[in-house]
């Protein structure tokens, strides 16, 4: 699974209740949509890579940085991805809960 498919899978977690989105078969608008989704996927992947790099660099390496620490980096990345999933689940549940109780 590439990073593009990770974010570009269009698995709508929230706010896809508006199913009034008419799907035309205008090829231009299909291409515009595909390009927007592609660019969003790249932006999300970039953001993720930057955040993981900063966090795992900080947690795994220490000045004067004479030694690499690849096992720690690998574990840190795995932990970060798991954290992402935990937080995503909690946040989406909270949003959905708030929207049904009319909090938002």
């Amino acid at each position: 699974m590439g990073l593009g498919s990770f974010f570009g899978g269009n698995k709508s977690t929230v706010t896809d209740n508006n199913s009034q989105t008419t799907i035309s078969n205008d090829p231009t608008s299909q291409r515009v949509k595909a390009q927007i989704q592609q660019e969003l996927a790249v932006a999300n992947a970039t953001e993720l890579v930057n955040n993981v790099s900063k966090n795992c660099f900080e947690k795994c390496l220490m000045a004067p940085y004479s030694q690499p620490n690849d096992p720690c980096i690998d574990q840190c990345l795995a932990k970060y991805m798991r954290s992402w999933n935990v937080i995503s689940k909690t946040y989406v549940a909270r949003i959905q809960n708030a929207s049904t109780t009319g909090e938002i």
Partner: protein
Amino acid sequence: MSSISQADLDSMNDSSKKEIANFLDAENSKQRVQMQIHDFTNSCFKNCVSSITSPELSTQEEQCLNSCVNRFLDANIRIVQNLQNVQ
């Protein structure tokens, strides 16, 4: 990536433009949630994950991540309410 020509864009009819506008609205709100998750993961990971000794999250770490999101949102709601009362 193939870019879309201006001529192609100009030739779109009103219903296609409307379709794109709706699509953008939906993608925008999804992306706002996505960015918020980036933000939460970044700051909660810093605060909740103290040592890297395994690729798994410990039970405490997972609880901490959940509470981190929930307490942030509680604080956010409270702050908005307080500010509304000031007015």
